[in-house]
Structures are given as C-alpha cells and as structure tokens.
Amino acid sequence: MSITMTERAAEHVKSYIEKRGKGIGLRLAVRTTGCSGMAYVLEFADEVAANDEVFEQHDVKVVVDQKSLVYLDGTELDFAKEGLNEGFQFNNPNVKDECGCGESFNI
C-alpha cells in the first residue's frame, strides 16, 4: 500500500504549509458524494489519528485514513497547470470512470 507525490506537488505543498504557518502535512481521503460516487478530499493535516497511515516523500507527510487508502492505493499526487488555472491532480490507478470534471469518480 502506498501513496506517492511528484516533486513539483511536494514543493507547492511545502510552500502552502509555510504560508499557512502551521500543519504537519497533507491529508488525502475519499468520501462518498458527488456526481459519480466518490470524491477526493485534499486538506491540510494538523494531526494524525489512530487509524491513519503516514507516507513521507520529498519531506512532505501525507496522511491517509485506512478506509480511504483502499481507494487511493497506488495514487500519485501531481501539481498541474491548465492555462491560468493551477492545482493538484490525483493520478489514481483504481479509477474506472470519472465525471467530466474529474472531481468525483467510480471504482
């Protein structure tokens, strides 16, 4: 079981945490909502809960709860740019199909 992150994504996470002034890392999760079943959650992590797994890459901690990890295993987090818009992107091998906007998905 693992989650990876590109170096570019890690750099952005580090700078956002620094500007925010607190936080131990990034929390990734999925929740059951959205137009095709599941949606990604991307939040600052202030603490690690008992059933969390922690992955560290490029000096950034990624916190994932065990339930979400089932759906996220093998995911690579990337940072991308589309015109003026820039942000994080999940490259998740488990996904069968996703809605047009890519914010929610099915397994």
Binding site: K19, T33, Y40, F44, G87, Q89
Partner: protein, 635 residues
C-alpha cells in the same frame, strides 16, 4: 481533470460546490484581484502575467472595450477615448465633474442622464460603466485562474467614500455580474492582510497614499476584532499629483510653456512617473523625451529636487494624521505600528516623514500595492463560508454624523460621526402642531448645528398620523447603517403603526475635499453655531408661544377677557411676532416673557374654568381624597 486546492481540515467542499470568492482592489490608477488558494491569499496574474492592471479602458467605435495595459497603449494616440481615473467620478454629479481636473482631459455629456458621462467613440460611458468594464476583466482573470464561477467578491473602497460612491461601486459590480459579498474599507483590508488580528491588542495607523486618494485610519484591535477608531483623508491627493508636479517641473526645465495636445501631456506624465519610480531606489535619474520640434526634454533629476517638488503635496497629508489622533483621543505614543499602503509609499521621502511624524519606523513588509487586495481576498474567503469557524469580524465607522432636521432648521444628530457600523439608532420625535397628520423628515449629514450648513441626503414624509394635540404623538425614527455603509431611515408612529422609510441613495456624492472642508468648518464655526442654535431655539419657542396663545384666544378668549384686556394681549403677541422677524435672541426671549406675564390672568381664568368644569358633580369627600392622593404622589 479538475485541479484541486488544499482546504482547511474538515472544510472540503463537495464536488461542484466549491465556493470561489475573490478580493478586488478597484483602484484609481491600478486594479487587482486576489483569492485564497490552498490556504494562502494570492494576487492573481492575468494571461499577460500582470498581477496589476491599469484602471484604464479604451473605447473604440467598433468592438469591445479594451481594459488594462492594452488600453493604456492608446492613451497617447487617442486620449479622449482612453478613460482613466474613472474612480474619481464614482457617485459624483455634474457640478463636481466640471470643477475637476478631469473636465480638462475629457469631453463630458452632462445633459442626457442624471450623472455625467464620458463622451467616447463607443457612445457615452459613465464612471460606473467604466468601472464595470474593469471589474469584468478582473472577474474573467479570476474565473480562468480558479477554474469556476465566482460566488462573490469583496470590493475595497476608500474609507472616505460616502453613500453615493459606495452605491456606485455596487452598481458597477452588478453590471459586471459580480455579487458583492461586502464593501470593505481599504485600510481595514490592509490590516487584515497584515494578519494584525493575530497580533497583540492595540492601535495601528494605516497610512494609504495611492494613485488618486489619501486615507489615514486608526484601527483598534481587541481580541481579534478590528474597529476603525477614526478615518480622515483627502479624496483628491495621490501619486497622480506627484506625476503632475514632476511633469510641470520638466516643462519648466525645458522651457516649454504649453503642450500641443493631451497625448503629449500623457507621454510627459508617463516619463514623470518612471522618473519617480527610479528615484525610489536611485539618487539621480536621467531623462530624454522628444515630443517634436522645440518640445525636447533632456536632462537629469536628483532625488533632492524630486523631494522638494513633492514636499508640499506630502505635507497635505499631515493635518489628516493629526485629525485622526484627535478624533480618536489617541496620543502618538499609543500607536503601536504604522502600516504603509499604496504605491506612493514607495517614495523614500514619504516613508521617512511619516515615520518622523509617528516617531517610529513604519511597516513596509508587504508589497504596498498588493496589501489591500490580499486583505479583501482573506475577508472574501471568510464571507463565502470557506472558514466558518473564523471569528474575523470587521467594524467600520461612518465618516460624518447623520441626523434629522427639527423645527427651526436645527440638526438633531442621531448617529454621531465615527460610530462603528453596522448600527441602528432610534430616537423619538413628536408633532409640533395640534391636529398635525403628516411629518416631513429631512435626513442630513454633517457636523454643523444648522441644516443649511450640512449636506442634505434625503427627504420623505410620514403620512396618516392620527390627529392629536401637539406633542401627543410618538414617532420613532430609526437610522440603520448596514455593513457597507449604506443608510436606511424609517419613521414609525407608535399608536397607529403607520410607517414610512427611505433608502438613502443620494444623486451625487461629496466633491473632492468637501468632507474635510465640512469638518474644518464645524470646528471654525463652533461658537458661531452655538449662537445660531440659541437663536433658532428661541425662535421655535417664540413661535410655539404665539401658536398656543392664538389657539387659546380663538377657543375662549372672548369669554374670559374684556376687550381692553384682549387688545393688550394682542399687542404683546404682535410685538413677539415682530421680534421673531429679527435675529436677536434676547429680544425674542424678552417678548416671550412679557407675553407670558401679560397673559397670565387669561391663563389663570381658563384654568379655573376648566377646574370648575372638572369638579362639577363630584362629591366633596371624593375631591378631598383625590387631592390627598395627588399630594402623596408628589411627595
């Protein structure tokens, strides 16, 4: 594939539910848009990688308006169709415009609408429409960058903007399809950007010298709450004036007495501006500009020369600094920090002198051009509901007192200046005449005692008041100022429940420096005003006495008075009426006293008659008991 941003713990939005909100600094010279992205407020760049666009719009005969740098390129070749500094005309009327320097630079249409419009190749454009074009451009940059539609924006305005100017800003946003979450005073936004709510409690001064406006504000922070203690400033002072002064100096140096056209003036202003910018970091700046035969500008300017050119302009900011300290009752030594905002605070002389004034080193950590937009973005993020647990609450103040006209042309202040908003204040008024069924309410703004010396904001009437004797009706007048500084006045007659109200949207705003002038006048005329008030009050009292005696005489004068007595009272009434024509308060007072003395017999007889009427048919014992009870009550 949508690109995601990092949310605060527990605040992730459902897909398609992200609430995108921005902060917009709609400036006189430049405009910016910022948003909170992955937890940090960032100024958004457009496709040309600019984080700030000139507040300039170019109107051509065909096609869409052009906004920003590309518009500015036309300033020299097509000056009349290249509109800049439109913010100076927001909420202004024709009189203000024809007296403004803008009237020399542009052609205006004063006739076809209630507000003046720039005459352009694309038709007439009001300042609101020009601002709307700028706002649409910022909105489009934001939506492209954030990847979705905006739920709303916080737009900043100078602290000195009055109701009309704030309303004009809201109208411009509506035209641009932007929902305004809140209008925020620029200095307050700067304080938010500095995160001063997280710092120690205390008083901070925000010195904001932008392109076209100057504001000085004292903010008090207490447990993370901002309160604006006092604001002052000059709505017609800024970097534009520095540029104009330097351009005049350049003409003088080169022996040029007049320029052929506005385009040449603009090129010269652009040179002046770039020299100013160079001198922020260099000791000298060379210049060379050829505008045609015998219009050659070449030479070098030293920073000392530059400082002497702008010194007089800078000094205009100091009286306002003193005023806010006085208004807030704060000593210089109580000011914990001085924040510099606005591009003109890059000028070293300004930083130095403001520091000397407040006897401390001024803060310049955050880019003074971005700080307001950044603060607005942080506030927008809170208002859009992305940080529901935030306790960031902003309080602003009203710049001038709001009141009502009362009898005699006097002002009854309901909401004193520097009251924090939003606010609701109620006061009870009553009728002046017997049987009065309507009341005219006149809402005024200003510090003076007489209505004639204040600014009229609105008039409305409360009708269908039940007819009662003078003073019997209770009419509650409520002044409400919302968080954006917009005023609603309502009047309620308590017995019948009749209500009338008005939203104050004055047709035009205060002209440049008029607010300052009003404040100064109120201080200069303080003692004169006291006398005027005394006279006006005496006149009201005199008229009331005339009114009361007349109605008593009408009712039963002949019954109680001999014709001799009657003519004596009539003479006293006539002399009181005559003194009311004059302007000597003591004469009126004397006449009132004489009339009261002269009519005392009549009043006594009327009283006795009415007591007799009351007692008729009552048992003596009953009357005694009543008298005893009354006496006890009095004890």
């Amino acid at each position: 594939m949508a690109l995601l941003q990092i949310s605060e713990p527990g605040q992730s939005q459902a897909p398609h539910q992200r609430r995108l909100a921005v902060g917009i600094d709609l400036g006189t010279t430049n405009s910016l848009v910022a948003s909170v992205i992955s937890g940090s407020a960032t100024v958004l760049k457009n496709e040309q990688h600019e984080w700030s666009i000139p507040s300039v719009v170019y109107y051509s005969a065909s096609g869409e308006p052009v906004v920003g740098s590309s518009a500015q390129e036309n300033a020299a070749s097509d000056p009349f169709n290249t509109i800049r500094s439109a913010k100076r005309l927001m909420g202004k009327g024709s009189d203000d415009v024809s007296n403004s320097w803008l009237a020399e630079h542009y052609e205006f249409d004063f006739d076809s609408g209630s507000i003046p419009a720039f005459k352009t190749a694309a038709g007439n454009r009001t300042a609101i429409e020009v601002s709307a074009n700028i706002l649409s451009t910022l909105r489009s940059t934001a939506e492209k960058t954030l990847g979705g539609e905006l739920v709303g924006a916080v737009i900043t305005v100078p602290a000195y903007f009055d109701d009309a100017q704030r309303q004009a800003t809201k109208d411009a946003a509506a035209l641009a399809g932007i929902h305004v979450l809140r209008l925020l005073n620029e200095p307050t936004a700067a304080a938010v950007a500095y995160g001063l709510d997280n710092g120690n409690d205390g008083v901070v001064a925000i010195y904001d010298l932008g392109g076209g406006t100057f504001d000085i504000s004292l903010l008090k922070m207490q447990r993370g709450v901002f309160e604006v203690l006092a604001t002052a400033g000059n709505t017609a002072l800024g970097g534009d004036d520095f540029d104009n002064a330097v351009a005049d100096w350049l003409m003088e140096q080169s022996g040029v007495s007049a320029l052929p056209d506005q385009g040449a003036r603009r090129q010269l202003l652009r040179l002046a501006r770039s020299l100013k910018e160079t001198l922020s970091s260099q000791q000298t700046a060379p210049y060379e500009l050829n505008l045609g035969e015998s219009l050659m500008f070449r030479g070098e300017i030293h920073v000392d020369t530059f400082n002497s050119i702008i010194e007089a302009l800078f000094k205009k900011t100091l009286p306002s600094c003193r005023q806010v300290l006085r208004d807030a009752g704060i000593a210089k030594s109580d000011v914990q920090a001085v924040v510099m905002v606005g591009g003109s605070t890059r000028v070293p002389l300004v930083r130095e002198r403001v520091g000397e004034f407040f006897e401390q080193t001024v803060l310049t950590d955050i880019d003074p051009d971005q700080v307001v937009a950044v603060g607005a973005a942080i506030q927008a993020d809170v208002l859009a509901g992305n940080k529901p647990d935030s306790d960031l609450l902003l309080l602003d103040v009203i710049p001038l007192s709001l009141g009502l006209e009362t009898m005699g042309g006097l002002v009854e202040k309901i909401v004193p200046r520097n009251t924090t908003i939003p606010i609701a204040r109620a006061q009870e008024f009553t009728t002046y005449k017997d049987g009065q069924t309507a009341m005219a309410l006149h809402v005024v703004q200003g510090e003076r005692e007489l209505v004639a010396d204040c600014r009229s904001l609105a008039r409305f009437e409360l009708r269908d008041i039940p007819a009662r004797t003078a003073g019997a009706c209770r009419i509650q007048v409520l002044f409400q100022v919302d968080a954006d500084g917009l005023l609603t006045v309502s009047a309620l007659e308590k017995e019948s429940g009749v209500v009338a109200s008005i939203d104050v949207k004055p047709s035009y705003g205060l002209s440049d420096g008029e607010i300052e002038e009003m404040l100064r006048a109120s201080m200069e005329h303080a003692s004169e005003d006291v006398q005027k008030r005394a006279l006006a009050e005496q006149k009201v009292e005199g008229s009331r006495v005339v009114e009361a005696i007349a109605s008593a005489l009408d009712a039963d004068g002949d019954q109680h008075l001999s014709s001799e007595e009657r003519s004596e009272i009539d003479a006293l009434v006539a002399s009181l009426k005559q003194s009311l024509e004059g302007d000597v308060s003591d004469n009126i007072k004397l006449a009132v006293e004489k009339l009261e003395a002269g009519s005392s017999v009549f009043v006594e007889r009327r009283m006795n008659a009415s007591v007799k009427e009351l007692m008729a048919g009552q048992e003596l014992s009953e009357l005694e008991r009543k008298l005893v009870t009354d006496t006890n009550v009095e004890d």
